[in-house]
């Protein structure tokens, strides 16, 4: 009787131990059925509009892999548990949450937030804990400049600012202007980097920076800068600023009668909020992106249709969803290739990525960045359409309709 009781007790204890291991998630030893991945995203605050798109993309990819029975690692299927935390668009919170996700939730890897002010602090956490992070929408030069010694565990998929800034002038070349540019950039990392590149690139395309404004994020009144841009007779306007600031600028330009022929609003016009807040005034604004409806990469159009079904209707927002989905697939493929949940093995496998995903081909360089091809979109009739490289049936509208 006592032998039976001892055996039953041992069995019970083993069962409890096994259950607790499963319940804790974790990085998984061979008996673990769950893999935890995490993301700290701006779901509230000034950057929330894009944060929710990435969240939807990440979640869709995780739902798909779980619906297919889980992520296969070394012959065993793992359920993927995606933990997403809201960093309220605050870099300090993002940094703390990344630490929590890695060390308390035991995430094998993180998917990134976006924009350098959030991606850089989270990348630094990844380097500290030595676990991988795949991010997007952090312009590569700005991201690389934050760690001159080079990133070891952080990866970035986005366009290279040099190609993007060159494209601004290539697009401006599509119409006749006096080649005088008003350049407005804020003092965030990408604003600083992009501002410098636009200034350097302009002469190579025969353009002159006739007026340059640098200002802190949160600036609301632009009267004096607009007056200066008008006085400088700048027919090309290029801006890199947060959505609230950009919207304030556009309204004031309209009110103060500044009518640039070409008007680019990087970052500011990246979601439908742009048109909701500005109405027709937002029409004609240009913005660089990495995906448009003319792209036919495998799964691309199907994902766009799914996004539309989920209420993500504008092309530029579907791009965020598709990018989120694609980098999650990059991570899944890397875990499969690694054949284990060991962070170093996954990290090495991410570096070997060389495949075409719904957003396009992804292949990281030795600097851990994948410079995707930038394209130029323009807000036309409430949606974004690709105007560069040119596609059939679409032409660049100039002067910028909303400011005319």
């Amino acid at each position: 009787m006592s032998t039976v009781s001892k055996a039953a007790r041992s069995l019970f204890l083993m069962a409890m131990l096994a259950l607790s291991m499963v319940a804790c998630g974790g990085t998984g030893g061979s008996g673990n059925q769950t893999i935890v991945i995490g993301a700290t995203l701006p779901l509230t605050g000034s950057l929330a509009a894009v944060g929710v798109l990435l969240k939807a993309g990440y979640q869709a990819a995780v739902d798909d892999i779980n619906a297919a029975g889980g992520l296969e690692v070394n012959g065993q299927k793992y359920h993927v548990n995606l933990i997403i935390l809201d960093n309220t668009s605050d870099p300090n919170t993002a940094s703390n949450q990344a630490t929590t996700l890695y060390l308390q939730n035991n995430a094998v890897a993180l998917l990134g937030p976006f924009t350098p002010p959030l991606v850089i602090p989270v990348s630094q956490v990844a380097e500290r804990v030595k676990r991988p992070l795949i991010s997007t929408t952090a312009p590569i030069e700005a991201w690389l400049s934050a760690r001159p010694s080079g990133w070891q565990y952080s990866w970035d998929v986005f366009f290279d600012e040099k190609q993007q800034t060159s494209m601004s002038f290539q697009v401006a070349n599509m119409v006749k202007t006096n080649k005088r540019v008003a350049l407005f950039t804020d003092n965030e990392e990408d604003g600083v980097t992009m501002g410098k590149l636009w200034t350097e690139e302009a002469p190579q395309f025969g353009y002159t920076i006739a007026y340059r404004a640098i200002f802190p994020v949160g600036t609301t009144n632009f009267s004096s800068q607009i007056a200066a841009a008008k006085a400088a007779n700048a027919e090309v306007l290029i801006t890199q600023m947060t959505p609230p600031d950009a919207m304030a600028l556009w309204k004031q330009m309209k009110a103060l009668g500044y009518h640039p022929i070409v008007a680019e609003s990087e970052k500011g016009s990246s979601t439908t909020t742009w048109m909701q807040a500005l109405g027709n005034v937002g029409e004609g604004a240009l913005i660089a992106n990495f995906w448009s409806r003319s792209f036919t990469y495998p799964g691309s159009q199907e994902l766009a249709a799914r996004a539309e079904k989920a209420g993500i209707k504008a092309t530029i927002e579907q791009a965020g969803y598709i990018m989120g989905y694609s980098i999650t697939e990059v991570l899944f493929d890397a875990i499969k290739r690694a054949g284990s949940t060991d962070p170093d093995a996954i990290n090495r496998a991410i570096g070997q990525t060389n495949k075409t995903y719904p957003v396009g081909p992804i292949h990281f360089g030795s600097n851990h960045a994948d410079p995707v091809q930038a394209i130029m979109l323009q807000w036309q009739n409430g949606d974004t359409v690709q105007v560069y490289p040119p596609v059939s049936g679409v032409s660049l509208e100039a002067p910028a309709k909303g400011l005319a």
Partner: protein
């Protein structure tokens, strides 16, 4: 060119007066800094946005309803939440208004989402020619509103029985109570008035710029700068402070660049506080007249 920047700044300053006046009134009467002032402004903008979307009326016309609603909200907050905390001291009131700030920010996000919104009206996209300078029409409206609000509040405090009661409660609450003035009621009305006045500032923010759940904090900072410069709790000081900050911002931005605008404004504030710690008009609303 400098003359044009002076004009631009002068009219922009009118907007700053409308956002700071509510803070002035509360401080002048109750000697309390309402840390939720930014949320009062943004809450008003949201309310105007809702009404304007539902009725398709002009946002400024919606103020006829938004201001009374904000008055009732302000009155209830003071009577039900802040009045009971007064005996516990200023620190408790500060913490309470900070709590209100956090609650309001969360509520805005839950109700309206986190995207930037903006109020639409034709005059937000037009300018007026003033001495050869193009000034946004909405800034001109803001300056007119600021002058009307300052003069109106001054007349109310100086000549109406309610104003006299407010001044008495501001000067010495104990003495005011001893002569039969219901001080908690007066405080409630004052907070309500401040919220109603802020409804004008909030709506003008919505018309002039964009707003979201977290934008209130930056407007609190701007309001605070205005009232500290003008003299904490002084109506005329708020008028002067607002106009001065507007002019200083514009001129600083044009001369040294917009990236140094805040640096110049706050450096000027520090200098004024060293030379004249009480601000330009260092007399509170209740004590002023």
């Amino acid at each position: 060119m400098l003359f044009y920047h002076l004009i631009d700044g002068f009219f922009l300053g009118g907007l700053y007066v409308t956002i700071a006046l509510g803070l002035t009134l509360v401080f002048g009467v109750m000697n309390t800094v309402n840390l939720a002032q930014g949320e009062v402004l943004i809450g008003s903008a949201y309310l105007t946005y809702t009404l304007s979307s539902l009725t398709h009326l002009d946002p400024l016309l919606c103020l006829l309803l938004v201001a009374p609603i904000m008055f009732v909200i302000g009155y209830l907050v003071q009577r039900l939440l802040l009045n009971p905390l007064i005996p516990r001291g200023q620190e408790t009131l500060l913490v309470a208004t900070f709590g209100l700030l956090l609650v309001a920010e969360t509520l805005f996000g839950l109700i309206y989402g986190n995207n930037t919104l903006s109020l639409s009206a034709s005059y937000t996209l037009t300018g007026l020619n003033i001495f050869g300078d193009t000034v946004r029409t909405v800034y001109v409206i803001a300056l007119v509103a600021a002058l009307l609000l300052v003069v109106g509040t001054h007349l109310l405090l100086s000549y109406l029985p309610l104003g006299k009661a407010i001044r008495a409660a501001a000067e010495d609450p104990g003495a005011a109570a001893s002569i039969g003035i219901n001080v908690p009621l007066v405080y409630g009305i004052t907070f309500g008035l401040a919220a109603a006045i802020s409804a004008v500032g909030g709506t003008l923010i919505g018309l002039s710029f964009g707003f979201g759940p977290t934008t209130g904090s930056s407007w609190l900072l701007r309001s605070f700068t205005v009232i500290v410069l003008g003299g904490m709790g002084s109506l005329w000081g708020t008028l002067l402070g607002g106009l001065l900050i507007g002019v200083l911002e514009e001129v600083a931005a044009s001369i040294v660049g917009p990236q140094f605008r805040d640096l110049i404004v706050f450096a000027f504030l520090v200098i004024v506080l060293i030379v004249r710690p009480e601000g330009f008009f260092g007399q509170r609303v209740g004590v002023a007249k």
